[in-house]
């Protein structure tokens, strides 16, 4: 446990990105190794067994479960259409008649003489997986899926909602400290991914949804406005499956938070490029952060992303990620090796950092993350 700091999120102009695209159950892979794919290329397909429906024939006919075989008009394995007669009971020379019709198209999977119910299996449900990003098939996982590889720009956010989407990036504000409000969203932003600065408002998200934008990237969001947009509160940090029209990615945190210059600068460079984004976030073992991928972006500089291998050293630019200096940028000036007692009286490993206004502050190492150099 040598490193007690939060590693920064990836913000890089040039990265090799691989994405595993896997079916939920075994199926058929439709592409070959080395094949070029676009985000909407279907790479694998399978059929999930159809939804089963149970019909309690014994109850409807008013007979004992172990007698239902005598009244069935169909057998196990038969395909039936919706409305087709499944079972019939007649007595008193046909004067009393009860019958059971199929509630759906499907195959009779089981006739149970224990419970008196039958199980009907609806036709299989086809499932298709697309490539999500533009790239090349790096590896085929037989019957399971593929690994797609691409090169380009890669940005991770801290938190997101909504699933995979594609769109053209448009930076909708002037600077990283600006708020993305409804007035910044234009009628021709359909299929765009809009970039804001320190905050995205609930009105801006609503307007973006109205015009058909695909995603929003901003520094911060107000907790209650996110809840308003989703229509429910988030309890556990697993997201990505929300049924919402616009995927939202937050790069810094909750509240109004200036987007890191490096992130904002890169997004400005990426303006006009087509990106694949995903808001899915999972904060636990096997952390998953939301992402913005721009395949094919040709970096004009020698940017290799952040060098985290050195860890924290004097001079490293950092962002403080907890009160009382939450969100402030600073530069490390000293890393005392001994544990020190902080205001909360905990004895922890700390560092001293110079804030932008020149003030030197003491911060637990656990409460900083490395930012751009």
């Amino acid at each position: 446990m040598a490193h007690a700091y939060t590693p920064g999120l990836k913000v890089t102009e040039r990265a090799v990105i691989t994405k595993t695209r896997r079916l939920p159950i075994l199926g058929e892979v439709l592409v070959e190794k080395g094949q070029a794919v676009s985000p909407d290329t279907i790479v694998a397909r399978t059929n999930i067994p159809g939804n089963p429906q149970t019909v309690n024939v014994a109850n409807i006919l008013g007979v004992d479960p172990d007698d239902i075989a005598d009244f069935m008009k169909k057998a196990e394995g038969d395909f039936v259409k919706k409305g087709e007669l499944l079972a019939e009971y007649k007595s008193f020379f046909g004067l009393i008649r009860h019958h059971v019709e199929s509630p759906t198209d499907g195959t009779i999977e089981m006739i149970s003489t224990v419970t008196g119910q039958i199980t009907l299996r609806e036709p299989p449900i086809p499932i298709e997986i697309d490539a999500y990003i533009e790239g090349v098939v790096e590896e085929v996982l037989p019957k399971e899926g593929v690994i797609i590889k691409t090169e380009g720009a890669f940005i991770q956010g801290i938190f997101g909602v909504g699933g995979e989407a594609q769109g053209v990036i448009r930076v909708a504000v002037e600077g990283p400290n600006d708020i993305l409000d409804a007035c910044d969203v234009k009628p021709d932003d359909k299929d765009k991914i809009l970039v804001g600065g320190s905050l995205v408002t609930a009105d801006a998200i609503k307007k973006a949804a109205e015009v058909g934008a695909r995603g929003i990237v901003a520094g911060g969001i107000i907790d209650t406005e996110l809840i308003d947009y989703l229509g429910f509160d988030i309890g556990v940090a697993i997201t990505g499956h929300e049924d919402i029209p616009v995927t939202v990615i937050i790069t810094e945190g909750f509240g109004r938070m200036r987007m890191a210059d490096r992130t904002f600068g890169l997004l400005k460079k990426l303006s006009g490029y087509k990106a694949s984004i995903n808001g899915a976030t999972q904060i636990r073992a096997g952390v998953m952060r939301p992402e913005i991928i721009v395949p094919g972006y040709q970096s004009d500089g020698a940017d290799e992303g952040l060098d985290l291998t050195k860890g924290l050293v004097p001079g490293t630019p950092i962002r403080i990620i907890r009160e009382p200096y939450f969100g402030m940028l600073a530069e490390i000036v000293e890393l005392p090796p001994e544990l020190e007692v902080i205001e909360s009286e905990a004895r922890v490993r700390i560092l001293r950092a110079r804030l932008e206004d020149g003030t030197i502050v003491t911060v637990p190492r656990a409460n900083v993350e490395i930012i751009e150099s």
């Binding site: 224990v114 119910q117 199980t119 556990v236 909750f254 636990r284 990620i321 909360s344 905990a346």
Partner: protein, 618 residues
């Protein structure tokens, strides 16, 4: 009580033990050795768990953690093949190695039964006690339509399903119905894309053939004894044993590197929470008292209780201090969190702070305000987890009891919880916010506020989280396990003397209890009014005789107004006389409440005095 025993039997003297717990993020190793007549913790080491890519081999993390122990002791425990056992004449290796695991998401189960409050509940208890996370409980009467249940079963990809239902010789139809739902759903296991899902059937033995017909071909079906053979009896042992077997055979065998790890040890690997439960049960037996234990983590909070013959464990899967912290906010509500904070903070700011903790879970409170907020959230997470626990730790439902006329007046049912806070002997807390609170008195107050024990009970926290390793050790060598638990793991905070009541209306400041404590020839007299708490600093190794004389509206364990003579133990905090009422009474007015909180915090010496006084002045 069904203790979890390993099939492994000791056949030799054990003088040194190496044990690892492969957690989802960290693998922790401990070395225990017999020093003189006692088993003691010698050293511990830790390293990141290596179940996930790019390593995908759990033994790498285990080796790294053990290597840290090698470096600290200057001895050798590892060879190419694994841990060297038994200890060699030249000093290499240890006598035995063992491991627990919760890596890769632990053991995730779904349980099903006929009646929600009867067989399904028993099945849930069996699964939880075995150390599983219960993803859902399906029953005939759970209010969902058949197709909704089928959808749910299809969505979940558990490691296994425990199916129960019906007493022996009872209904076959309903249990078969549940079996048919499972068969229709064709559930797939979480691990191993081509494998059949293991299903344990522990229901009516007369339905075994039907269940085999329905599920035998589609699943990996195992049949064990009915867990409710008759209505009045719950037999969880065989189901729990089969869960452990399948955990080894299926879940562990599929997790990367476990086949290798299993070769290192003759003792079957236990799921981490199951081992913690074994540790709690052994502790309850050893101390001869009822025990409640809690482990509050980032994502989940586990509560264990041992009262008489009953052992129970619950997992509150979405109550935790980082990953699930927003769910605490959601379930408890902002007001319940704010009631423990003695200064004003805007609701929106508090909500944003909690969200930011969720997305950056490794950060720690730097300021006192932040610490107090985090401890307020911890109180609520613990309270909710305990509420959840009490709802499952109940007597068998559906059992007809003979009642006396007195019972009729008491209006109690068979589904009342058997957790009696007045009977509690020891309350043990673990997890970062309790074990690493800057002052131990903070941990004591969090436990008191969340669990609200009554009469007298020892409060304790674990200093180093090694209960999983001690739990698996307890299954083969309880004495060694308990010696280390008592001397190197448990930090005794002190006995809490808590008065139940008031019975009727009482004003703050009214007489509540007079307490006389005698130890080492000293006599301490305390008179504590209602609404107050008093700390008597009696050291950890001292036992005092206590006479508690409650006022007529208060109960010290023998009835309202009745004197209690007992013994209490000192601790690193001391003996706490808690006269704040049960439930703890907080003023409704915000200013008055803040003043009261500061008064309690000062009385307990929980935070720096000057800072607390500033809150009141503000």
């Amino acid at each position: 009580m069904q203790e979890q025993r390993n099939s492994f039997e000791l056949d030799r003297e054990i003088n040194s033990v190496l044990a690892t717990d492969c957690g989802s993020t960290t693998t922790k190793a401990i070395l225990i050795e017999k020093i003189g007549d006692e088993y003691r913790l010698v050293v511990r080491g830790e390293a990141p768990t290596t179940v996930e890519a790019p390593f995908e081999d759990v033994t790498m993390g285990a080796r790294n953690a053990i290597r840290e122990i090698e470096e600290l002791t200057g001895r050798t425990f590892l060879s190419e093949q694994g841990v060297i056992t038994p200890r060699q004449p030249d000093g290499l290796g240890v006598d035995i190695y063992m491991s627990t695991s919760s890596a890769g998401g632990g053991l995730q189960m779904m349980v099903a039964g006929v009646v929600k409050t009867m067989t399904a509940e028993s099945a849930a208890r069996a699964a939880l006690g075995a150390g599983a996370i219960v993803m859902d409980v399906i029953s005939v009467d759970d209010g969902r339509k058949p197709h909704e249940k089928i959808q749910r079963i299809r969505q979940l990809r558990p490691d296994m399903i425990l199916l129960s239902g019906g007493i022996d010789g009872g209904t076959i139809t309903h249990v078969a119905e549940i079996g048919e739902l499972i068969a229709a759903a064709e559930p797939k296991p979480r691990l191993g894309i081509g494998y059949q899902l293991p299903i344990i059937y522990a229901g009516n033995k007369m339905a075994r053939k039907h269940i085999s017909d329905i599920l035998g071909d589609k699943t990996d079906l195992r049949i064990v004894d009915n867990l409710r053979p008759v209505l009045e009896v719950e037999v969880l042992g065989p189901a729990r044993e089969e869960i452990h077997n399948l955990f080894m055979e299926h879940v562990m065998a599929q997790a990367p590197g476990y086949n290798k790890l299993m070769q290192w040890t003759p003792v079957p690997i236990m799921p981490t929470p199951g081992a913690v439960g074994a540790c709690m049960q052994t502790a309850a037996k050893e101390y001869d008292m009822s025990v409640i234990g809690v482990d509050i983590g980032g994502a989940t909070t586990d509560v264990f209780s041992v009262f008489g013959e009953y052992f129970n464990r619950t997992v509150s899967a979405n109550l935790g201090m980082s990953y699930s912290i927003c769910n605490v906010l959601l379930e408890a509500g902002v007001d319940n969190i704010m009631r423990w904070i003695p200064f004003s903070i805007e609701e929106g700011a508090l909500r944003n702070r909690i969200r930011n903790k969720m997305i950056r879970p490794t950060t720690i409170p730097q300021t006192l305000d932040e610490l107090i907020i985090e401890q307020a959230i911890a109180r609520e997470a613990l309270r909710l987890a305990f509420e959840h626990h009490k709802s499952l730790a109940v007597g068998l439902r559906g059992v007809h009891r003979q009642r006396t006329i007195g019972d009729t007046f008491e209006q109690t049912g068979s589904d009342e919880t058997y957790i009696d806070m007045a009977e509690l002997g020891m309350l043990i807390g673990s997890g970062g916010c309790l074990s690493h609170a800057p002052r131990r008195a903070q941990a004591a107050m969090m436990l008191l506020d969340a669990f609200q024990p009554e009469s007298t009970s020892m409060l304790a926290v674990v200093s180093i989280f090694m209960m999983p390793q001690l739990g698996i050790l307890a299954s083969i060598h309880p004495k060694a396990s308990m010696q280390v638990f008592d001397r190197d793991c448990l930090v005794k905070l002190g006995t809490a003397i808590a008065l139940a009541g008031p019975n009727g209306k009482a004003e703050f400041g009214a007489p509540c209890a007079e307490v006389t404590l005698e130890y080492d020839g000293k006599t301490i007299e305390e008179s504590v009014p209602f609404g107050s708490v008093k700390l008597v600093p009696i050291p950890e190794d001292k036992t005092a005789s206590a006479v508690i004389r409650p006022a007529r509206q208060f109960d010290a364990g023998r009835g309202y107004g009745h004197e209690v003579k007992t013994t209490v133990n000192g601790g690193v905090v001391g003996v706490i006389i808690d006269c704040r009422g049960r439930p703890v009474v907080l003023p409704e007015d915000v200013k008055a409440r803040n003043e009261k909180l500061v008064e309690w915090f000062l009385a307990m010496n929980m935070y720096p005095e000057e800072s607390l006084k500033k809150y009141v002045e503000a």
